[in-house]
Amino acid sequence: MRNPIEHMPSLPTIVSASVLLIAVIGLALLEPRFIVSQNLANIALQAAPLILVALAQGIVIISGGIDLSQGAAIAFAGIVGMLAALASNSIWVGWFIVIATGVALSAINGALVGWMRVPAFVATAGMLTYVDGASFLITGGLPIEFPPDGYSWFGRAFFGPVPVAIPVVAIISLLTCVLMHRTRIGRSIYLLGDNEEAARIVGINPSLCRFYVFLIAGFLTGCASIILTGRIDSAPPSLSPTIQFEAIAAVAIGGISMSGGHGGIWRAIAGVVPVAVAGNILNLMGVQTGAQLIIIGGITVGVVALQALPVIQLKRSRR
């Protein structure tokens, strides 16, 4: 497992890091609004939930799967949680229900992928469809609004100049890194993604392990939902429909292997930075959603294509 290559920054990481650096310097010169501290806080607030979603996506991808349902699950969990908070008039109940809903939805995916052996893209694309339908059904297409006081704390409050979401996400990220790299379940997930047969031989139950993967991912997307709904102080049925694509792009840019089993989970966080910065810059420049989608898709495929090159060489030398 202690493969030196895992700890070396890969070619795509270096490329994306240098592109990012050049872009930031160039844009700071072109667009002075970019380095205003208010905008930097803004980027951090945008990046915070995306980091959680990218961590979730990263864990699923490391295990050899993919999760296309994140955007729909986040919107649904946000709606159910805010309704619960309104009904009980307790922010704690609301927050708990958001996370519980996130975990429960993801558990459905986990059960389908783990025990029923449904391909992850089918299970999660199905969830994308029915959960999206359910969100619109519950809300009638309109956002749920006016949560109890304090409900939006994670998305709106500041410690001085620092948004509350930043330290919260930092702590969760740290725990996730420890989970993935220092615990038995984390290392099992890596082994499962790398070689299922080997995992089975050393006594890992692949079905149960896949189920755990989705439970962890569901917890992380639930947390992201609290921050995202908090940021806008409401829960619309189309909260962040394309966040899973941004998360996949971040995972790819960070250098986690798309075929599973390789790449430290911290790479997902590293990958979010260029995605969030690029998104912010494009917004400042007034670039439309369409062009942003093209860039996100292009980056994902391009980076993975770049990634494939050294992997091919490795495989050949092993033979």
């Binding site: 992850a120 199905g126 439309q288 369409g290 860039i295 898709g297 994902t300 993975v304």
Partner: protein, 322 residues
């Protein structure tokens, strides 16, 4: 003789559940909605099923070579916008050519990423999903592209001898793809590629070329489906095809095609597309809200794949590919 029987029993196993489901659904809906069997509704079902069938054939080709195409819906949106723009600014022939060509290029690009750059099919087509949807939005400015010529509208709304034109387009696709897969060496080679890359390579098949071609043809078929969608609604729209990829996967699996490659049934795909259309048509007739329809369709398609997995696990005739 025994061989013929074996062949047919295999076909029955592949499409038997699909036909049964189709009969049950039709019986149910005709009970709850008497207008189900009216000629006008039958024609309506054909019009709705045709583009889904055509796109599903593309999905089937990709699944056959051990791939998957998540970008079907986005490519439909992209091709409908390209086709409509070409038709409005040029003429109907340009429109048809642009829709098919844009789909072919989008699919071919995914295919090249899969074959040349070794990107996983899911990731390559997810990237294409974003790119194609993005281009559809940019090219159309986010608005439907209206005023397409009548010659293109005819492809979706016209009738020949009492049957809707999309029926004839589907029949053409069925015949061409069926003959290609059954009788031409290149078509047969898709089965070999899906079964085993190594074996296909050893048999002298150009794996890269034909795998890329499967993706490109899937794109072109999505473009053809886009023409029918655009013709029916009178415009090319950047919002076409949300969730279509899931429906095509559902149709393909319902038809008895194995996710994982090497095995496919064209007639089954047709039945699969028909079932999914009947399901949404029946829900339309019985007045189910579109939101509930989404919930039902999503759950139904996942259930279909679960059922298919269980069936194959119990007979354990195919290795499971996650």
């Amino acid at each position: 003789m025994k061989n013929v029987l074996m062949k047919h029993s295999k076909l029955v196993r592949d499409i038997g559940p699909g036909i049964t489901l189709l009969i049950i659904l039709s019986a149910g809906f005709s009970y709850f909605a008497p207008e189900y069997y009216r000629q006008s509704n039958i024609n309506n079902i054909i019009r709705q099923a045709s583009p889904l069938f055509i796109a599903s054939v593309g999905q089937m080709l990709v699944v056959l070579v051990a791939g998957i195409d998540i970008s079907t819906g986005a490519v439909v949106a992209f091709s409908s916008v390209c086709g409509a723009l070409a038709a409005v600014n040029g003429n109907a022939a340009y429109g048809v050519a642009a829709a098919l060509l844009s789909g072919f290029l989008a699919g071919g690009t995914s295919g090249l990423f899969v074959t040349v750059f070794r990107v996983q099919p899911v990731i390559a087509t997810i990237g294409m999903l974003s790119i194609a949807r993005g281009f559809a939005l940019v090219l159309s400015g986010g608005e439907p592209v209206d005023n397409i010529p009548d010659a293109i509208k005819f492809l979706g709304t016209g009738e020949i001898a009492g049957l809707p034109v999309p029926f004839f387009i589907s029949a053409g696709v069925f015949a061409l793809v069926g003959c290609w897969l059954s009788y031409l060496p290149s078509g047969r080679s898709l089965f070999a590629i899906g079964g085993s890359d190594e074996a296909a390579k050893a048999a002298g098949i150009s794996v890269r070329t034909w795998r890329t071609m499967a993706y490109a043809l899937a794109g072109a078929l999505a473009g053809l489906a886009a023409l029918i969608y655009a013709a029916r609604s009178g415009s090319g729209q950047p919002t076409f095809g949300y969730g279509l990829e899931l429906q095509t996967i559902g149709a393909v699996v319902l038809g008895g095609t194995t996710l994982g490659g090497g095995h496919a049934t064209l007639i089954g795909t047709a039945i699969g597309a028909l079932i999914i259309t009947v399901l949404s048509n029946g829900m339309d007739l019985t007045g189910v809200s579109p939101y509930i329809q989404n919930v039902v369709l999503g759950i139904a398609i996942v259930a279909i794949v679960v059922f298919d997995r269980l069936r194959r696990l119990s007979s354990s005739q195919h290795p499971v590919i996650a």
